[in-house]
């Protein structure tokens, strides 16, 4: 494959239409801004899911990216160039993700791709991105393989992964409730990988796995699984069930009053999956990377900016998915600024090993983009349902926080083999 795509891009890139970057609407309507007279806009392809199991989270993810981009555009863009975005729905389907990535790169001329909730879709997109050398930000998919076996030179992973969350949760739970653990696993990569690392940790801390129940994606009736759990009678159920499946699971567990016994560990709890649910649906402990109720400087202003930009969304405060989408996009734009060019390799080098101060991240610890796995090593919080909420949005009570080095995913480090810079096609976006 040729090393340079500059000439073709230069040929195609001269078009620019009118229209401000206003509220985002439609599948991939162009939100064009005035191109600088001297330069064309920087084009970013948004690959978040708009339908399927993760439609809800995908919308939140996209709002995060759009806020970061509009803030930068309001300040005059990056390197004097405005940012343009195109969004195409990946339908939470890997095959569609693959085609969407092809199209965004070759037809929409996007130099960067951002967005993912489903690990299957993230995998599919990153393969296409790597072949073209296009930087891809996996904002919200937390399968450990994303920064392990399936890591790529062009891909950066912004969420905490299943192992991080399991490390934060498993030991506490075994100490509190005992070692008989049952795994309830969503039957796809994220579920399996998370269950695997939970299993290893349970054994490491002297617990025992009594059973593992696989939950097909799209399951709505959990009665068979819940019956089996009752019969096995474990002390702890470690669930790795995501998206709409999890909403259904929560309702049914709450309906049967099984929320307190056994004790539940829900590996990670995405805000869009629980927002608006009755509090009794929010049982057990779970991990998250960020919460709007964190008592840290900047959080309040961040929430206000969100509310000003999205006055009409039903989700009144930003959650972890929005946060990841925002942080990833804004760090990408900063890296372009630091690199002083839109050359993909130069930007990758800027991102690798970059340390993000705790104050900017609105977390308790400094975070770093691991140069070896491309995953952001960050604070992980353990939370549970808030029994004394300040208002209807205040659903979480933060129990503990773990620093990045305590929850580091060592296995991903061993499994990840990044492509070399030479193997990665280079171009200027």
């Amino acid at each position: 494959m040729s090393k340079s795509r500059i000439s073709r891009r230069a040929l195609l890139g001269s078009a620019a239409a009118a229209g401000g970057l206003t509220a985002f609407a439609g599948p991939w309507k162009h939100n064009r801004v005035w191109a600088q007279a001297t330069d064309k806009p920087i084009r970013i392809g948004i690959t978040s899911d708009a339908s399927g199991q993760y439609a809800n989270s995908g919308a939140s993810d996209r709002r995060g990216m759009m806020m970061a981009i509009s803030e930068v555009n309001d300040r005059g863009g990056v390197l004097g160039r405005k940012i343009e975005v195109t969004h195409i729905d990946t339908e939470t389907t890997p095959a569609t993700g693959s085609r969407v990535a092809e199209r965004l790169i070759s037809r929409e001329d996007c130099g960067f791709l951002v967005g993912a909730v489903s690990s299957g879709v993230a995998n599919a997109i990153s393969q296409v991105a790597q072949r073209n050398g296009v930087i891809y930000l996996n904002t919200n998919s937390s399968s450990p393989t994303e920064s392990g076996k399936n890591c790529h030179r062009v891909k950066f992973v912004w969420d905490g992964n299943g192992t991080n969350f399991a490390k934060a949760a498993v030991r506490n739970s075994i100490d509190a409730y005992g070692g008989k653990v049952l795994l309830l696993t969503n039957d796809y990569v994220w579920g399996h990988d998370t269950a695997k690392s939970t299993r290893a940790l349970v054994e490491q801390y002297g617990g025992e796995i009594v059973d593992e129940i696989l939950i097909p994606q799209g399951t709505r009736d959990f009665s068979a699984a819940l019956l089996k759990i009752q019969q096995d009678n474990p002390a702890v159920v470690a669930a790795a069930v995501g998206g709409d499946d999890q909403i259904a699971l929560r309702q049914q567990v709450a309906q049967l009053g099984m929320g307190s016994k056994p004790a539940w560990i829900n590996n990670q709890q995405d805000w869009p999956d629980v927002y608006g649910l009755p509090l009794d649906n929010l049982f057990g402990v779970f991990g998250t990377t960020w919460y709007y109720g964190l008592d840290l400087p900047g959080v309040k202003e961040f929430v206000e900016r969100y509310q000003a930009m999205y006055p009409d969304t039903s989700m009144r405060v930003p959650g972890n998915v929005f946060y990841n989408g925002y942080m990833a996009t804004s760090e990408l734009l900063k890296a372009i600024e630091r690199a002083g060019s839109t050359n993909n390799i130069a930007i990758i080098k800027e991102l690798e090993g970059h340390v993000m101060p705790a104050a900017e991240r609105m977390q308790h610890d400094d975070a770093v983009i691991d140069p070896l796995t491309h995953q952001v090593q960050q604070s992980i919080y353990l939370a549970t349902a808030n029994d004394e909420p300040r208002d209807e949005n205040d659903m979480f009570k933060i129990l503990t926080q773990s620093s990045p080095q305590d929850v580091r995913d060592e296995e991903a480090l061993e499994a990840c083999k990044l492509e070399s810079y030479d193997e990665t096609p280079t171009f200027d976006a």
Binding site: A50, E102, S106, G120, R131, D187, Y188, P216
Partner: protein
């Protein structure tokens, strides 16, 4: 209503005007795809689906066996290609052979179950088998990668004697897919215009009569099913290369239904080329209408419903009727179907 058999046949040489146009379009596509706002990858995907649709129409249009689970064989081909690369050796021909073999075997097995069925029962049985394969692809996690699919399938070099070509780039791969498609189209053309093709149509028109005339109807139906599955497998192998992965998605009932829609809308029931129209319409509509509105399937679905109501012969049938009304042109350029109409 007209059917495949009502269109006068040409038989003999496959080098008709339609074939010429088809070859011309395929060979020039890389030069006009981007200027008209499409892209190379889409062209490749369309070529692969044309291959799949034409093979499928052997069963659907020619023999009148309405399979609603044909996506399964496309998927099996894709997985076989990928598993061959990952577990045996990286080889283009080996992978494609594995894809065809696996789909053929699956087709032979299912064909044995369904070939003594006809009408809607045939359709229902194929749905059931399609679902079994789809389900297995999702559940056999350790082999297929489950719902996330089999990832990292390479695009192996094209080795032809001493010649060794890198086809890992979308442009190069398109040329390879096109050549495979052209060979397959010629083979299919010969097949349906040979006496065998006429027997197929005879079975479609009246299975009992065909049996009385002395044909082993079961065997012929089974063979057709197997051949059709083999083409699907080949398409699947190419699809795995295009996507660099294999996903269970193409095996779902939804996708199997879509290929039926494409073939029917295009006019697979009345013309050899019907499936080509259908695939083109579907993919280009998906890309263009899909760009304008997220609910593009609504419009495509409505169009399909109206088509079934007023013109079930599809686009090819429409062209045929239009052409028949024009007194000047001869009708021979339309449909290359066989001469069973006279039988």
């Amino acid at each position: 209503m007209i059917s495949l058999s009502d269109i006068p046949a040409r038989g003999g040489s496959p080098f008709t005007r339609s074939m010429g146009l088809f070859v011309l379009l395929l060979l020039t596509a890389p030069f006009w795809l981007e200027p008209i706002g499409l892209y190379q990858y889409l062209g490749m995907e369309i070529a692969i689906w044309i291959l799949f649709a034409l093979g499928f129409n052997l069963l659907f249009g020619y023999t009148g066996l309405h399979s609603f689970g044909h996506g399964a064989y496309l998927g099996i081909g894709a997985y076989a290609f990928g598993l061959f690369q990952q577990n045996i050796t990286i080889s283009l021909w080996g992978g494609l052979l594995a894809a065809i073999t696996a789909a053929t075997l699956a087709g032979a097995l299912v064909g044995a179950f369904v070939s003594h069925r006809r009408g809607i029962y045939f359709a229902l049985m194929t749905i059931a088998f399609g679902q079994v394969f789809w389900f297995a692809a999702i559940k056999l996690h350790s082999i297929t990668g489950g719902e996330d699919g089999l990832l990292g399938i390479p695009r192996p070099d094209l080795v032809f004697g001493p010649l060794k070509l890198d086809i890992s780039d979308n442009g190069a791969l398109y040329w390879f897919v096109t050549i495979v498609l052209l060979v397959a189209v010629l083979a299919l053309w010969r097949l349906v215009n040979a006496p065998f093709g006429r027997v197929l149509q005879a079975i479609r028109q009246n299975e009992t009569r065909a049996r009385f005339v002395g044909y082993n109807v079961w065997l012929i139906k089974w063979l057709t099913f197997v051949v059709s599955a083999a083409f699907a497998g080949l398409a699947g192998g190419l699809f795995a290369m295009a996507q660099e992965s294999a996903y269970p998605d193409v095996m779902s009932l939804h996708q199997s239904g879509l290929i039926v829609m494409m073939v029917l809308v295009g006019g697979g029931l009345v013309s050899f080329w019907g499936p080509v129209f259908g695939v083109l319409l579907y993919f280009i509509a998906r890309d263009i209408i899909g760009g304008l509105t997220e609910t593009w399937l609504l419009w495509f679905g409505l169009m399909f419903v109206i088509m079934v109501m007023v013109r079930p012969e599809g686009m090819a049938g429409l062209f045929h009727v239009l052409r028949a009304r024009l007194p000047l042109r001869s009708r021979k350029a339309v449909g290359p179907a066989a001469q069973a109409g006279r039988a």
